[in-house]
Symmetry: C2
Subunit: 238 residues, 2 copies
């Protein structure tokens, strides 16, 4: 539904709600984060300016930084680390450790339909900047003796550029980097990621938390693992 349609509809309905374009786009973004709006392919055309402003704003940083701080609150209030080298934490890569905003900046902040080979070309340049708050959390967890495992939907052929990019912006010392190979490209992202976590648990890891920007990073989690979702109104991974 477009913004115009929304306003026409609501003049007709009982609530008669008249909203501004900003109200409309903000409610779109909020409902993406609430996981009420799913499977969208593009940011609504009339909201690309709004979303672009948001992801460049201090609010986006504050929202994200707060999410990473809650990881530490959770760790210090709810977790009894065994410190036997098997305490683990899982991170996504894109828009969790590294930002793809420079790429999406040239693609209407999610307003253009995803072109995978175009995005992979950009990734292979290895120029993704770090998300500073995630780098801080990464280092904090590492200093507590927690094993850090990266599980990403990036494909295997991008392994060496991905490692270079991570190291160049300050990430190092992770315990595992799991990328997608041709076998698991056939299943959903949620299943690929939960299968990877199941294997880690089989290998003896206790996964205390997962940080990602997509609900598909947490779904089918073992129930004692808690997810922390970073905001991402730019795209949806099913």
């Amino acid at each position: 539904m477009t913004f115009a349609d929304w306003n026409i509809l609501h003049q007709k309905t009982h609530s008669g709600l008249k909203i501004s374009l900003k109200n409309y786009c903000e409610s779109w973004r909020m409902n993406v984060e609430l996981h009420n709006i799913r499977d969208f392919e593009v940011v609504p055309e009339e909201c690309t300016d709004y979303i672009g402003k948001y992801v460049r704003s201090i609010q986006y940083k504050a929202d994200s930084e707060r999410a990473t701080e809650e990881c530490l609150v959770y760790l210090s209030t709810s977790c009894n680390l065994k410190k036997d080298g098997r305490d683990a934490w899982v991170f996504d890569i894109d828009d969790t450790l590294l930002s793809t905003i420079p790429y999406y900046k040239n693609n209407l902040y999610g307003g253009n339909k995803l072109n995978v080979s175009d995005l992979e070309d950009w990734m292979s340049k290895g120029k993704s900047p770090a998300l500073e708050y995630s780098l801080q959390l990464f280092n904090d967890l590492k200093s507590r003796g927690i094993q850090i495992i990266l599980i990403s939907t990036r494909r295997e052929y991008l392994r060496s550029v991905t490692i270079d990019n991570l190291v160049n912006v300050g990430y190092h010392g992770w315990a595992g980097l799991i990328l997608r190979d041709s076998a698991n490209e056939l299943v959903s992202v949620a299943k690929y990621k939960s299968d990877a976590r199941k294997q880690l648990i089989k290998d003896g890891y206790r996964i205390w938390g997962i940080v990602g920007d997509q609900y598909s990073s947490f779904e089918e989690s073992p129930s004692c693992t808690r997810g922390f979702k970073l905001p991402n109104p730019m795209y949806y991974v099913a």
Copy 2:
């Protein structure tokens, strides 16, 4: 962490993020909705004004209305109703069908710690207004032949005032109203609600969706039932 502490911390950290009080309160609210901030007992003192403004704003209405619209999108794209009188939809009551904002207005919009008997006194007056978008959804679902079941943490002794309040503001024709009795007051809200849903499924209902303002309304859901969370930054039910 207070707003002042947050700013001091972030001047010291690598990111050096300086934010306004509005940024701080908005990131608090966003992370409540993301389910990253859990188990809070009160809205942070410095954010009660901000939260009060939000729940009285057109943005709160737009955010909520969008959530209820997505229920209809989901129904028409993902559900094959059997229309045998066993298609069902579950609603919470407080801050889903009826608003408690008039009560919280007198309690610093969540800034005062919950006083249950005080809240129940207010409920027993039966003066909760309807949330218009929820009433529209309720009526729309009913007109499609879907059975509507209300599952609330309100206690049994409030049954007759609750029914009166619902009917007075326009809700009627539900198929079930499940309230908390002394037996299930001992378990968590999530378990009480999921047990109630399991019983409904045993009784032959197919629950297509749940509308609520708390994550505890959806947890332990059967996997083919999808939850839709309305915004509620005022309080947290574990």
